[in-house]
Amino acid sequence: MLIWIIKRDLLLAVRRQSDVLTTLFFFIIVVSLFPLSVGPEMNLLRTMAPGIVWVAALLASMLSLGRMFSNDYIDGTLEQMLLSPQSLSLLVLGKALAHWLVTGIPLVLMAPVLGIQYDLPGDALAILTISLLLGTPVLSLIGAIGAALTLGLRGGGVLVSLLVLPLYIPILIFGAGAVEASMAGVGFDAHLSLIGAFLLVSLVFAPWAAASSLKVSLE
């Protein structure tokens, strides 16, 4: 079941590559705008880098949240999934994982390249990538709750940002914090452990919460 839903969503993403590419290019452009506008002040750029990359990752991940369930809602495949004898939470988990593979992984892979624009040292680039690798699945999982709650509503796109962005704040703080800590030469393990903890908690609770919201949204 989990395999099938991931396979299905990846297949759909391959058939509609524009959806994947817009998210990635949005991320690249937002991150690249700052060095261009601030100017080549190396120290300033280095301090700003973790925050900017993380904020851009949040926004890019949010950009595609609306599509997570709404396409399936419109063509009726979502109501068929609700009628499946298999657990709906598992299905939501599959959809969130597929969302992460399609939108999160490209961001993680692109981040070290973009970090060079900010003159980040090698260790900091590595920590930035690891923090994104741990943090982006949390964005997809928490985002699934928001997407499920706003399903079928007019203006759902704006509402989902208002619902979900505040919940992203802890991830943002610890994600950017890990990179800053590593540049300052202090331990960054605690930050990464906390993101890992968020990941585990959201893996357990987010699918369940999103599944309950879907049931309400479709009634």
């Binding site: 759909l12 109501e79 999934m81 004898p85």
Partner: protein, 204 residues
């Protein structure tokens, strides 16, 4: 055995229907009739567990479907107004994936056989978005051929189908009923299906 007891449906302030009672035994066909807006689709969505009745209970084998949850879903196939197919996937992928998500993995041969039977031979590798309305309907109905559920809930299954396809669907329904299955359906078209017991439920 599917039983409805004093079912009522409320949409906003308006009561669509109330005190609906029926008992559908194995091998039985129930046709839900009524003018547009009388709550046929709402009733069918209730029966398959997508929405909850405002009042009353729906029993499956003498147990409330809410308590049964996934055990009930394993016995039901619902085909609604929306086709439940993805435009970007091919006909074959649609059938295989929708069956797998409904808990029934099928082989490529099984899927191909079903598609040939329903009249989509040669279209297996086309994306659904290039098909006509009637062909999309056939893709959705192909699920009936591969599923192993006993209760079929069909909302206007004959819409957009040509005469040959209607005949085909009638044959599929009759075979299902003969094997002890149950069908609840709405249709505005006249279709004479022979079944052990045929009921009509008139709404409003």
């Amino acid at each position: 055995m599917l039983q409805g007891i004093n079912l009522a449906c409320v949409r906003g302030d308006r009561e669509l229907f109330k005190d609906i009672n029926f008992l559908l035994e194995s091998g039985g066909l129930m046709q839900v009739r009524g003018p547009n807006g009388s709550g046929k689709t709402s009733l069918l969505r209730m029966l398959c567990g997508l929405s909850h009745p405002a009042a009353g209970d729906i029993l499956w084998e003498d147990q409330n479907i809410r308590a049964l949850d996934s055990d009930f879903f394993a016995a039901v196939t619902y085909i609604g107004h929306l086709s439940g197919t993805k435009d970007d996937l091919t006909v074959l992928e649609n059938l295989q994936i929708s069956s797998a998500l409904a808990g029934m993995e099928i082989s490529t041969e099984q899927a191909n056989d079903a598609l040939h039977y329903i009249g989509l031979k040669g279209r297996e590798a086309l994306p659904v978005k290039v098909l006509s309305q009637g062909q999309r309907r056939r893709v959705a109905l192909a699920r009936l051929l591969v599923c192993k559920t006993s209760l079929w809930i069909l909302d206007e299954p004959l819409v957009a189908l040509d005469v040959m396809a209607v005949k085909l669907v009638r044959g599929v329904l009759e075979e299902h009923l003969q094997q002890g299955g149950m069908v609840v359906m709405t249709t505005h078209q006249e279709i004479d299906i022979s079944a052990a017991s045929i009921m009509e439920l008139q709404l409003a």
